[in-house]
């Protein structure tokens, strides 16, 4: 009886502490979204009166936000295309071929993910500055791809490993050519992974700050740099609305990835009645 009570109190305390830690993670995000609808953008929580003024101010005349938003979207789109090209080829090489120095190539891919981003940004600055490419959207997109491509590679490696090669063998045995197999079997099965890779590449570039800040000029200010500037230099209350939009974009993107995965998981199962192992076997402990 004594033992039971101890466990119960312990459990209650543990749950309470865990809840506080979860609030610690969630509250900063909730507070921004709520504050973005508040009449007074800098104080008082919860707000006294509600308004949409900060969202309207974003698109008012002379606002810097639309330019920053479209620049970030443009750079993220370019970076996504680069990342997908690199990702598809690299994942094919790493999963579906006999590649010499395979682990060295894999280590190179992981490099940008483990090295401090400020170091990567400094290196890119030293590369693009002498080339007079500072402030060029292409230079920023090329820089973002250094961070986004490895993520795309990792997602696509997991995707390719998850495709049952027996389906391709079966198609080949029935006389399908290499191109037909790629078009009719591999691509449809890899499509959800490719969409996920594209979304994560886009978000990586869209939210990237270090490289953007080092490579931007007065005329090319990306959205995160503009957010940082308005938090440090000119206090612009619209920044709460922008932050809330960035939160919405991130959650929307994650939701989309989950949806695509869910649709995709049904596809292979319907083709393959054999029970598949859930998730992706990942020998070597590679983190995906």
């Amino acid at each position: 009886m004594m033992e039971l009570r101890k466990t119960l109190t312990g459990r209650i305390v543990l749950t309470a502490v865990a809840t506080v830690i979860l609030l610690f993670l969630a509250l900063p995000i909730v507070v921004i979204v709520v504050t973005s609808f508040s009449d007074n953008a800098f104080a008082a929580f919860p707000p006294d009166t509600w308004t949409l003024n900060w969202y309207k101010a974003l698109f008012a005349d002379g606002s810097k936000w639309p330019a920053a938003l479209s620049l970030s979207a443009l750079i993220a789109a370019i970076s996504t295309v680069f990342s997908l090209i690199i990702g598809v080829t690299a994942a094919t090489a790493l999963v579906r071929s006999e590649l010499p120095l395979r682990s060295a190539v894999f280590a190179l891919v992981l490099g940008p993910l483990v090295i401090p981003q400020i170091v990567t940004a400094l290196g890119l600055f030293l590369l693009f500055e002498p080339a007079a490419m500072l402030g060029s959207p292409i230079a920023i997109a090329l820089g973002h791809t250094v961070l986004a491509a490895p993520i795309a590679v990792l997602i696509l490696i997991a995707t390719l490993r998850g495709i049952d090669e027996r389906l391709e063998d079966a198609a080949a045995s029935m006389g399908a050519g290499r191109l037909t197999i790629a078009r009719r079997i591999t691509f449809p099965l890899a499509a959800p992974g490719m969409i996920a890779a594209a979304i994560f590449s886009f978000i990586t570039s869209f939210d990237e700050f270090y490289i953007s800040q080092f490579l931007s000029s007065v005329d090319t200010v990306t959205l995160p740099v503009q957010v940082y500037n308005s938090l440090t230099f000119d206090i612009d209350p619209s920044v709460t609305a922008v932050s809330a939009i960035l939160i919405a974009v991130a959650i929307l993107a994650l939701g989309l990835v989950a949806l695509v995965r869910w649709i995709g998981s049904g596809r292979q199962d319907s083709l393959l009645s054999v029970e598949n192992t859930v998730g992706v076997a990942n020998p070597g402990g590679e983190v995906v």
């Binding site: 830690i21 104080a43 690199i86 190539v105 400020i118 170091v119 939210d207 960035l246």
Partner: protein, 297 residues
């Protein structure tokens, strides 16, 4: 006859292998070339720049500069804040991962969602959320005043407390995910066995559970330490002048002072610290793997 059937598949298989190798090299080319040009080469040129004097001759004086005076104290601040962040994210991460691993699958899923989703939201935005929350009239101070806590409102921003709160919340998803994986991997039968032999709760925790999760704890702590080292946004926005970290200094030297060599030497120091930490993580995880093997047998 037997020899014939054995050698027959060797020819086509070899052909296939070499074709597969050629395709592999061809497909690996884009990523290798891209990262060599835009990642490896820039870092090597950073290294070169940090060793070059104004007239182009070899020098180590940028490193001497980086390791003396104000720069040294910035480096020490960086190490201190990273250590504090690692400690707090480890403790909170341990408690949360432990709690989640005991939850029913549905609630564990919800809790994991709350852990993971913030990780995909821009650190800049989350930092701003903390600035709103920790201000004099922010949610935290208003709640503390409302509870008649003596001394409230507290100064929670533009000091070390603010920075560590911010960076800890950024690192927490990593530690929770890592530790949750480790805790799920603990063989519950070992705990049951100890219990059946009469070991108490505390003994089981100390002698069985902790040694099993220790390598995971060590790598999670090290990882959040390494990741904090290069942090810029949160210390710059939530700290005061005494919380300048090395990334802030690098940024200042490049954008304001045009001191590229100095920035390069600090970048290299940051890089070396990170790589040393990663080697440690690797050593710890291989230690953990061998321990797990021994226990399982």
């Amino acid at each position: 006859m037997a020899a014939l059937t054995a050698t027959a598949p060797a020819g086509p298989r070899k052909l296939l292998a070499s074709r597969k190798t050629r395709i592999g090299i061809l497909y690996a080319l884009p990523v290798v070339v891209y990262l060599l040009v835009l990642f490896v080469y820039p870092i090597l040129s950073t290294l070169l720049l940090s060793l070059k004097d104004a007239d182009g001759s070899f020098t180590l004086h940028w490193y001497a500069d980086a390791l003396t005076g104000v720069n040294l104290s910035v480096l020490i601040t960086t190490l201190r804040i990273s250590a504090e962040t690692a400690l707090f994210s480890l403790v909170f991460g341990f408690v949360l991962a432990n709690a989640i691993s005991r939850l029913k699958p549905l609630w564990a899923g919800v809790a994991m969602l709350i852990v993971v989703v913030p990780h995909f939201i821009s650190a800049l935005v989350r930092t701003y959320g903390w600035i709103i929350m920790l201000g004099d009239k922010g949610l935290v101070n208003e709640s503390l005043s409302g509870l008649w806590i003596p001394g409230a409102p507290f100064q929670l921003l533009y000091n070390e407390l603010g920075v560590v709160i911010g960076t800890t919340s950024m690192m927490l998803p990593y530690t929770v995910l890592l530790l949750y994986g480790v805790m799920r991997g603990v063989d519950r039968r070992l705990l049951a066995a100890a219990s059946s032999m009469g070991a108490g709760r505390v003994t089981i925790f100390r002698r069985i559970y902790l040694p099993l999760v220790a390598p995971g704890l060590a790598s999670a702590g090290l990882l959040s330490f390494i990741l904090s080292l290069g942090y810029y946004i949160t210390p710059a926005l939530m700290g005061g002048p005494n919380q300048t970290m090395i990334a802030t200094l690098i940024n200042q030297q490049v954008t304001k002072e045009n001191q590229w060599n100095g920035a390069a030497s600090q970048g290299v120091i940051l890089l070396v610290l990170t790589l040393a930490g990663l080697l440690l993580v690797k050593a710890v995880s291989s230690l953990g793997a061998s321990r797990k093997k021994r226990n399982a047998s």
